[in-house]
Symmetry: C2
Amino acid sequence: MSTVIADFAVPAEASAGTDSPEARMRAAKEAARETARLTSDRKTAALEAIASALVAASADIIAANARDLSRGAEEGIGDALLDRLRLDEKRVQALAAAVREVASLPDPVGRVVGGHRMPNGVALEQVRVPFGVVGAIYEARPNVTVDIAALALRSGNAAVLRGGSAARESNTVLVQVMRDALASVGITPEAIQTVDDFGRVGATAMMHGRGLIDVLVPRGSAGLIETVVTESTVPVIETGAGVVHIVLDDTAPLDWARDIVVNAKVQRPSVCNAVETVLVLRSAADRLVPAVASALIAQGVTIHGDDDIRRLVPDAVPAGDEDWALEHLSLDLSMRVVDDLDGALAHIRQYSTGHTESIISTDALSIERFLAEVDSAVVMANASTRFTDGGEFGFGAEVGISTQKLHARGPMGLAELTSTKWLARGAGQTRA
Amino acid sequence: MSTVIADFAVPAEASAGTDSPEARMRAAKEAARETARLTSDRKTAALEAIASALVAASADIIAANARDLSRGAEEGIGDALLDRLRLDEKRVQALAAAVREVASLPDPVGRVVGGHRMPNGVALEQVRVPFGVVGAIYEARPNVTVDIAALALRSGNAAVLRGGSAARESNTVLVQVMRDALASVGITPEAIQTVDDFGRVGATAMMHGRGLIDVLVPRGSAGLIETVVTESTVPVIETGAGVVHIVLDDTAPLDWARDIVVNAKVQRPSVCNAVETVLVLRSAADRLVPAVASALIAQGVTIHGDDDIRRLVPDAVPAGDEDWALEHLSLDLSMRVVDDLDGALAHIRQYSTGHTESIISTDALSIERFLAEVDSAVVMANASTRFTDGGEFGFGAEVGISTQKLHARGPMGLAELTSTKWLARGAGQTRA
């Protein structure tokens, strides 16, 4: 398991006391006292400075990224990964634009979310406060480095980052540019830290950084997330893995079924809210499966079907039991005929990762039963699973999509990077 | 560390497949599908049935408890523990009354906490849902068995319980009584499980029950909590440990300072919201320390003071560095003179467990700075720290007091035993 994040060598200086992962986490913790008290105006100014600095440093960023790309190409990491890793002029502009968007979001810190006066007169108030230090462990895409730092800062947190080895040179420059930008507006640069240069030791230190990391967000493959969840002793928000289902029942309009399944599979197959398995009620199979399958195949999708599906779709390849648990993240789709809604719900209970499921139906009882009984972060009727997204939900930016039940569930916005505290104002009251 | 919960022998049947901790957690998970969909009326009826059954079974409960007490006495567990363990007619009545109080609380499940219509017309709704299976690992007091089961059930959850070995016979009967009561109103008894009879294996299985335990709440000593937090791979809500501070500044009215410190220390010294350390600003020491100390000493409190305190309080015993980190949970109080508010804040940063701190002051700037900068679940001005309590906060019942920042912070009520899910209702929408 730990090989997932033990992906580059540990430099000798990792054990040095003066510059260690612990020292950087401590510096972040100290900086978090400052960021927690920044006004919204100052945080906006800091984010604007970061956005401008990124654009100004385009050439350096692209040069560092080119070194990552050529090392990646030598190591044969594959075209898809190389593409996710690549930064060009346009993508650096997009990074800066994303930071400006975060700068424009309402500041969650200080929002009063509850309160009342106790019978004895003590005034209670529950207010949003930053977590303190947000940690992130993630993989190839260097834009996560900038996104998480910006979101953390907007919500008054310091950030400790551990990116993938493939993006190491890019991330080093991005972090330096952001730190310099903070310093340029009079905010401590220690609010943004990386432990990339400590390799596995850095990630391990974060996972065990009790008292130094207030919340840790893993973003990446199922293997990375599993490692972080299992190994961490700090609080973790589990994100992402999406074995997403769509159920078609016998009242589903053919055009809704076809358009939603195609959209959910084809529009962006590599992301967690793309559909992976379509379950068709037996009574609807003859009517819906051929048309839905044709539309999918016309878009280049390979259908992995059970025997019932393959009778209706000659081009389908056989699906084995392992397919039901698979997050394809590609133009592959598992399809299965189930006897009835009970069968669909049982399949989802067994194989869903609790991300998003949708039913296509016009029967009110079936829809309400599906919405009530499916235990996932987002449960839909007659809509594409691709809508499970912070931007689509109107949060403006997205930290990730939580698939756990503690603290945050579904798309996480800025508020999910905050905690609360209770303030109590009295005039000498004691407890009777 | 693990000795804390490895406190009785593992019976041979622990490894049997048909009745194992895993099998019981699975049964709870299955039962949680039923409890999640119970109406409030049925949950109320179930809790009323449990309350009545507890009273009806008083004789059996007290007999089992007597066996625990005599074993405890033989093993020399001490009078304080024996008292916490003891159940008599009156305490069983109190258990039942607590269950009836939980039955009367508003049901959090199904409450709509947010929502809006997406620009494309998809209707989004965020609703409260039960976690599923709530686990609790706790120590001597058998009332926790009933409290947690009742709170879990009211919020639509199943419960898996692991009590302390000292209360094992009492807990066995309490769980059986509650299970029978559920069955008597047509609800599956599998919704309340104990793994007490599996000893350490039961606790370990819970801590590693990913997919079976949705949230785990440890209640008890700092050692038990530390073990559960460190070892668990399931989400944990950290509760309780309270190195609680009160700061007295030079504007503090003497009567407020004296009454609040005495109340916070003496009213119930053994609980987490009792004050453990009083910090006095140097400019206020001569005026406040003698009077506050006299009032404390008159109530039987032993003061552990630094040199400055001992100059003013001849009866104080010397405080060492270890005292500042100590949760006395007794009629002992650490007192220290600090140079100024900065010194008080630095001391709190170093030693607080993030539970509750209070400042006694009439200076608006000092109060606001204290409320803003102290990073604890509850930060007070001019009120006793004993008010940090679910009952006092108006939650009606208390799952525990969270000292972490994820999910819940401060006193936890029923809402904190729920998660949310998003429901999306569309009419064929796809993502552009």
